[in-house]
Symmetry: C2
Subunit: 179 residues, 2 copies
């Protein structure tokens, strides 16, 4: 971020009065441009005991498996975002349930929030961001080929709940790239 999105003047980086952190500040128009973490929303879609996974057709982690997930857009709820991403990435229609897992991905400036979800029918297909989609038996989850720690965490949470018979909300965080 170099130029003011409001007036195109060169931005300074300084701590505004009454604040405690350095911000992008426009000395011409006075505007402060905050940068904050973004929310990634997704779900674990299930059909007859099997889990819907997508193999990524985009970077990062091209070729690795993920549950449907992506950035929350303006003007939608997190649940709506999770359903939208499922439609976009796996061409599947879901009823989104309760929150399953949240992971702070601090180094990426993201918070990943995953829901339980019930597929409304068995149909699924790769959207433009997926190489393929698959309904996977929980015993056959490709743990070594998962795209991100938050996907592993969500699937582990889902398995724990199946074991316990409860619907807990599981939280964790990661501060560094890698596993």
């Amino acid at each position: 971020m170099k130029y003011c999105p409001s007036c195109a003047h060169t931005l300074a980086i300084r701590i505004p009065e009454g604040d405690s952190l350095p911000r992008y500040v426009c000395e011409a128009c006075g505007e402060i441009h905050y940068r904050n973490p973004r929310l990634v929303v997704g779900c674990v879609p299930v059909w007859e005991g099997r889990i819907l996974l997508c193999r990524r057709a985009i970077e990062p982690r091209y070729g690795y498996w993920t549950t449907p997930a992506g950035f929350l857009e303006n003007d939608e709820t997190c649940e709506e975002g999770a359903a939208r991403e499922t439609e976009e990435e796996a061409r599947a229609r879901v009823e989104v349930g309760s929150p399953l897992a949240m992971m702070d991905v601090v180094h990426a400036r993201q918070v990943h929030l995953m829901y339980r979800a019930r597929m409304l029918d068995a149909s699924h297909e790769a959207g433009p961001e997926s190489l393929e989609t698959a309904l996977v038996d929980p015993d056959a989850i490709p743990w070594e080929e998962l795209a991100f720690p938050s996907i592993r965490f969500s699937l582990e949470a889902w398995l724990k709940d199946r074991e316990s018979g409860r619907e807990d909300f599981h939280v964790s965080h990661v501060r560094r790239r890698g596993w």
Copy 2:
């Protein structure tokens, strides 16, 4: 947003190839500038059965009561953000517990996430964004003078859990300004 933060060229609004929503796009440098909802994190700090509230010294809702909460910053977890806001707004030190309540505030393009929290000692004091702070008996919560629906929702969730003896994660959303 009028000018490209990277090169200062005038921005266009159009749907990029492979995307489905209009974005701010720079036709000069090619960069796409996404706008996404922001996370507000906070907590319900408790000391000996009483809840710590702050009366806002800033707009919006100047003079109304809130629990400590504010925008999640880069490079911190949601729990750390909730503790930081409590220190900033109420000069209180807390141990942040489990997630209590989440509300999608769709019209404001925010998601509010509130945690349970235990005050480490009884001390509290108005920070620069508060007019005053108070430890309030749950029976004396000023329901008519709360700042935001998410604050009401979090306090109602806290009371429900006290009733049930459980620690549930409560979710809701609001699409329009007002109650």
